[in-house]
């Protein structure tokens, strides 16, 4: 049912803001459409700048290939069974799986930890500095060590993505919960609500706009974490591996490195926009200022 029909049926009352599921799906689709158009425009603009820089500096093709050559690379054969398109796509999906698995695990951990920090001052004072410190650990440095301990399975790469994810989510959750209005908490107190009810019905929904800010930040770093995890240890699959091998063959075929880099950007954008799309489906996650 459309908004117009609702108004027609009950002229005295304006239509509710949150329409049927179909209206919401259409809104998300529109948002994705705009994002896709903007994305294409961005890529075209970047290519133009690239070509301009190449023209002005007169850089050689072997160092700075033409932008169309990078995309033409997609059609060329990569190994015995497939083109670069299928090769990149296969590894893209692998890294996507690692990043998403890590992102989900890290987010759950982050929300749980954020709730714990917000609900207990002693825990907050003890844990927040530690989580901040953990964030300063250079992941590239310890990743090989983690692989020595834990093996080269995809779970380890997901774990590294999770490690980078949980911190922004933890901080956002703790801040969001702490920002719950005192009046709402008093209301729950008057209703004799339990701690759990107050958390689920008021604190977490109030924190959702901030939690989603944390999730969007985390989505980007989860992808970086997943790619970095594939770099150092002779991985056999994933975008990190593609970047590493392409880098080794840069002087022979520079286009493949750029292709891998573009694929990585696309992966990051995909995950971040997926989080944004989910946000539009959750009424409580909308920015209270309407942004």
């Amino acid at each position: 049912m459309t908004a117009a029909q609702v108004v027609g049926a009950r002229p005295a009352v304006a239509s509710p803001a949150w329409g049927s599921g179909w209206v919401r799906v259409r809104r998300v689709a529109a948002r994705w459409g705009v994002a896709a158009v903007m994305g294409v425009a961005f890529v075209v603009g970047l290519c133009l700048l690239w070509e301009l820089a190449k023209l002005v500096t007169g850089t050689d093709d072997s160092l700075m290939p033409h932008s169309w050559a990078v995309f033409a690379q997609l059609g060329e054969p990569a190994g015995p069974d497939g083109t670069w398109l299928t090769y990149i796509a296969e590894n893209w999906v692998v890294t996507l799986r690692n990043a998403v698995a890590g992102f989900l695990a890290g987010s759950l951990l982050g929300v749980a930890l954020g709730v714990w920090i917000a609900s207990n001052r002693v825990v907050g004072a003890a844990l927040l500095p530690i989580t901040a410190l953990m964030q300063t650990i250079p992941i590239v440095a310890i990743a090989p060590a983690m692989v020595l301990f834990l093996g080269t399975g995809w779970e380890i790469k997901a774990a590294i993505a999770a490690f980078l994810t949980f911190f922004p989510v933890t901080v956002a959750t703790a801040k969001g919960i702490a920002s719950t209005s005192a009046e709402s908490l008093e209301l729950m107190r008057v209703c004799a609500a339990s701690r759990w009810q107050t958390l689920v019905k008021v604190r977490l929904p109030s924190a959702l706009p901030l939690i989603f800010v944390g999730l969007e930040t985390a989505a980007g770093v989860a992808v970086i974490g997943a790619i970095v995890a594939e770099l150092p240890f002779g991985a056999t699959e994933g975008l990190g591996m593609v970047i590493l091998t392409s880098w080794q063959y840069y002087t022979i075929q520079p286009t493949s490195l750029y292709l891998a880099a573009i694929a990585s950007c696309a992966l990051g954008a995909f995950v971040v926009f997926a989080v944004r799309a989910i946000r539009t489906l959750v009424p409580a996650a909308a920015d209270p200022k309407g942004a």
């Binding site: 509710p16 008057v190 209703c191 008021v202 929904p205």
Partner: protein
């Protein structure tokens, strides 16, 4: 006991809605004790509508928060519906309406009204049925699916009143519920509140800054003074219920108004 016998008997025969007995409240600010409520004594029988009026800083909100069990007394006893505020709150006998409607922005109007019932563990069908009835009572039938931000301030406050009534409270505590509304909306809501009170008959403690509002709604008006917060006097309003807008022109209405105005002039504070 210093109270005389006739008053004591009367107190026994009528059930206590709200009572304060030698209630003192101090807040310490930077180690300095600040006397906010100085020996408050107040007795409101069950089912009565009483307003509290006074200058800013006279502690009227503090008194309400003590009855709502949001803050403890420093000394003395507060009684809500014959028992302590703690027990009354745990037993869900309280309904509170604040100056801000304080609705959950992500919940529909219907689900906002049903929130206390949800906390109580009432099933969805019963919850929605009660919420629908209450929305009709406050004149918001048809707005069930709306979000709070789609409603005007007056409509939001009606939702807050419906929510406070959802658990059928014996005691309704209202902290300047219409303070942020324009005069026209305020007078209309005053009328509606009275008709709701006439039907459900909870004990009401109504805090306000408006003298006509206090007089129109209540059978008694508690006038408070500031620094320290204390009760200056209690003014009876000799107007029978049910009251209609015509009551505002009644000589008794003006008499009560001028009496309160005179008391406030001597009450101090800002």
């Amino acid at each position: 006991m210093s109270t005389d016998t006739t008053e004591a008997t009367e107190r026994q025969t009528r059930l206590v809605g709200l009572a304060a007995r030698d209630v003192v409240k101090t807040f310490s600010v930077k180690g300095k004790e600040n006397l906010v409520l100085d020996t408050i004594n107040l007795e409101i029988p069950k089912g009565e509508f009483v307003s509290v009026i006074g200058p800013s800083g006279c502690g009227k909100s503090t008194l309400l928060r003590i009855f709502a069990d949001l803050i403890p007394v420093t000394s003395g006893t507060a009684v809500v519906d014959g028992i302590s505020p703690q027990l009354a709150r745990a037993d869900r006998r309280l309904g509170v309406v604040f100056q801000q409607a304080n609705l959950m922005p992500w919940r529909s109007v219907l689900r906002n009204v049903g929130l206390p019932l949800e906390v109580e563990g009432r099933g969805k069908v019963a919850r929605d049925a009660t919420s629908r009835e209450l929305l009709e009572l406050v004149g918001l039938a048809g707005y069930e699916k709306h979000l709070p931000r789609q409603l005007s301030g007056g409509m939001q406050q009606r939702v807050a009143i419906a929510r406070a009534l959802s658990t059928e409270p014996d005691v309704l505590l209202m902290d300047e519920p219409f303070g942020a509304l324009d005069e026209i909306t305020r007078e209309r809501l005053n009328q509606e509140l009275l008709s709701i009170w006439g039907r459900l008959r909870p004990t009401v403690l109504f805090i306000t800054h408006s003298i006509p509002e206090a007089v129109f709604l209540s059978s008694r008006v508690v006038v408070m003074g500031a620094r320290p917060g204390r009760i200056v006097d209690v003014v009876d309003v000799d107007l029978p219920y049910p009251r209609d807008p015509g009551a505002r022109t009644d000589p008794a209405f003006h008499a009560a108004e001028s009496r309160i105005r005179a008391l406030l002039a001597t009450a101090g504070g800002h």
